[in-house]
């Protein structure tokens, strides 16, 4: 059975390797200092999607992402690794979205894509660590969900069996398609880029990436011949979205304050590693019944 699979992916600042210049002196995040990457768990999700495609000939995998034009990088990366198509949701009206407004936007796009069997994404993105968008999309579409998935064990006759992580253990669940799945970082890593795909898609772009280059767009004639090199770019209007439910106006949560973390320094006693110092400390801890 061929499947229509959509991978939800996000371009995120790499918060795992934060250098000293990642924060401005005012205590805000200096996004420019952080490299933009494919959200790690979304890559785990892409691998599960590509495996489903391998096992079910005729299936397609598309990358759905939301962000500025630059986020099309994520779609290209997905194409290099074996995806077939992609959609970039980009519009100023989407800006400032919290998880609820994001899931609204994504769900309208999924409705427009239509007839999806499997919608799969990473468990959470490393810039927010909320794990909310997947389940919120599922609820908006009225679909079941399997979160914290580690491996899709089988997918036959409209039934999918998935092993998932739970607190303190593992669980195997069975569900009907269509379904929303979020994949845990403990799942198999994503396959690398395929050289042929890189050659095929390296010039793929969304229109908003091409426009600033105007007449200087390299190889501009190929886009008329090779339609797959023009990636789908959708605005709020394109997905029949309600602007009130998008971006800042569709976000019930508001950021009241942001603080740089400064831990209150304590008055500490500094000791050396000499026998006398270590013995004194241990003696004090024993005397105060903190240990022993």
């Amino acid at each position: 059975m061929s499947l229509k699979i959509v991978v939800l992916a996000k371009q995120v600042p790499d918060t795992r390797n934060v250098g000293k210049d990642a924060m401005t002196p005012e205590g805000t995040v200096n996004r420019a200092a952080l490299p933009a990457i494919f959200n790690p768990e979304d890559l785990n999700a892409l691998e599960q999607a590509l495996r489903l495609k391998d096992q079910n000939p005729g299936s397609t995998v598309g990358i759905l992402t939301m962000g500025p034009p630059r986020a099309a990088e994520i779609i290209r990366e997905g194409l290099y690794r074996g995806a077939d198509t992609g959609w970039l949701l980009t519009d100023r009206l989407f800006a400032g979205a919290d998880t609820l407004a994001t899931s609204y936007a994504i769900s309208t796009a999924i409705k427009k894509i239509g007839d999806c069997d499997v919608i799969i994404g990473g468990r959470q993105a490393i810039d927010g660590d909320t794990a909310q968008v997947g389940p919120q999309v599922a609820e908006k579409l009225g679909l079941s969900q399997i979160t914290y998935a580690e491996e899709i064990l089988s997918c036959e006759n409209g039934k999918i069996v998935v092993r998932r992580h739970i607190d303190g253990g593992v669980e195997t669940v069975e569900a009907q398609l269509p379904i929303v799945i979020t994949v845990n970082g403990s799942a198999a890593p994503c396959r690398p880029r395929n050289v042929k795909n890189v050659m095929k898609y390296k010039r793929a772009m969304v229109p908003m990436e091409m426009e600033p280059m105007g007449e200087n767009l390299p190889y501009k004639d190929i886009y008329a011949k090779k339609l797959y090199l023009t990636l789908n770019q959708w605005s709020v209007a394109d997905v029949n979205g309600d602007p009130q439910q998008c971006g800042l106006s569709g976000s019930p949560t508001k950021v009241k304050a942001v603080q740089n973390i400064v831990f209150q320094a304590k008055e500490s006693k500094t000791l050396t590693s000499s026998d006398a110092d270590v013995d004194d400390l241990m003696k004090e801890l024993l005397a105060n019944k903190i240990i022993g």
């Binding site: 810039d127 389940p135 979160t147 500490s268 590693s273």
Partner: protein, 340 residues
């Protein structure tokens, strides 16, 4: 109406630790707001088995949903329970654990009710808020305080217009405290079929293994934690020795876990376990923000580090400037000779 709700998570008939912690916090928030604390629990064969685990935290009203198919947890039936009861009861606040279950359920409920949800809060407070753009003033909002951006900043989130204000909190972040063992709370046995349509029971759990945690980091009064500075898996051996002597547990920083010095379930910090032992001995841990977030509530913090400028030293009560491989054996030696 307008009360504080806590979703109680269960394993079999046992109420999760995190839910008990949230009931404690929920009671405090309810007191501050002058409203009632209500709780919801859903499972199979739980009637008469959970009240005593929940009401003593000061719960005024407990809703029990007891039916086949509600345990093990699956997303849709539990979502329907919360969504439908919230439509009736209109709570102003809803708290749940930032567990696999809470993080599966919370977003669905918030999506259905179009309400705001903040994940993994580390502090919850009641306060006021001014929306300068709209020129509106709000009293008694829930401040949902959480680390963001990989733990590099702390954000305070509010949901001014939408109810309930929803938040998840990780286990160990709040303290549990029984209010009154004989607290006079009402129990309501709900008619499950009225809340959950038959079509919700679509995901079947066909196999399930839950193992008891290998360590007792959360409950241990003494924790010896190792960082990247331990150098190797073998380097951790002396920490196990010290822990054995002191009857403590060994934990680790993310750097040590990532380097393969020890198991993932030993990780302390924002993305690991949150602990608050009586004494915390940090060995070769520099003290990244994300680690400190998970242990700063410890009673006494001792940092053993060859680097006098390790950030963790600023929050330590005692700093031992010196190599761990020199200091730890001395601690073991002194304890062996002088305890008892």
């Amino acid at each position: 109406m307008n009360n504080v709700f806590v979703y109680c998570e269960i394993e079999g008939t046992i109420v999760a630790e995190v839910s008990q912690e949230l009931l404690t916090k929920g009671r405090k928030l309810a007191n501050k707001l002058g409203v009632q604390l209500e709780a919801v629990v859903a499972g199979t064969g739980i009637t008469d088995k959970v009240q005593q685990q929940i009401i003593p935290y000061g719960v005024d009203k407990l809703y029990i949903f007891d039916a086949e198919g509600l345990f093990p947890y699956t997303s849709k039936p539990h979502t329907s329970i919360l969504v439908n009861i919230f439509k009736e009861e209109k709570p102003q606040i809803c708290l749940m654990g930032a567990t696999v279950i809470g993080r599966d359920l919370g977003p669905r409920v918030s999506s259905s009710l179009k309400s705001g949800l903040t994940a993994d809060c580390t502090q919850l407070e009641i306060g006021e808020h001014d929306d300068k753009k709209l020129g509106k003033h709000y009293d008694n909002l829930l401040y949902q305080i959480r680390p963001a951006f990989g733990g590099n900043i702390v954000a305070t989130i509010v949901n001014p217009e939408h109810r309930p204000q929803m938040a998840t909190v990780r286990e160990g972040v709040m303290k549990k405290e029984i209010l009154d063992a004989n607290y006079n709370g009402e129990t309501i046995i709900a008619d499950v079929a009225k809340y959950v349509p038959e079509t919700d029971y679509v995901v079947k759990v066909i196999d399930r293994h839950v193992e008891k945690a290998k360590n007792n980091l959360k409950g241990s009064p003494i924790i010896i934690a190792g960082g990247y500075g331990m150098g190797s898996k073998q380097g951790f051996d002396m920490l196990y020795k010290l822990a054995k002597e002191l009857h403590g547990e060994v934990g680790a920083s993310r750097a040590a876990v990532d380097a393969g010095f020890c198991d993932h379930d030993m990780q302390i910090g924002q993305t690991g376990v949150t602990v608050r032992p009586k004494v915390y001995i940090a060995c070769g841990i520099s003290g990244q923000i994300q680690h400190i977030a998970g242990m700063k509530e410890s009673g006494i913090i001792i940092s053993v580090n060859a680097d006098p400028n390790a950030p963790i030293n600023t929050i330590a009560d005692y700093v031992i400037n010196g190599p761990v491989e020199v200091v730890i054996p001395k601690m073991i030696k002194y304890y062996k000779e002088n305890s008892k």
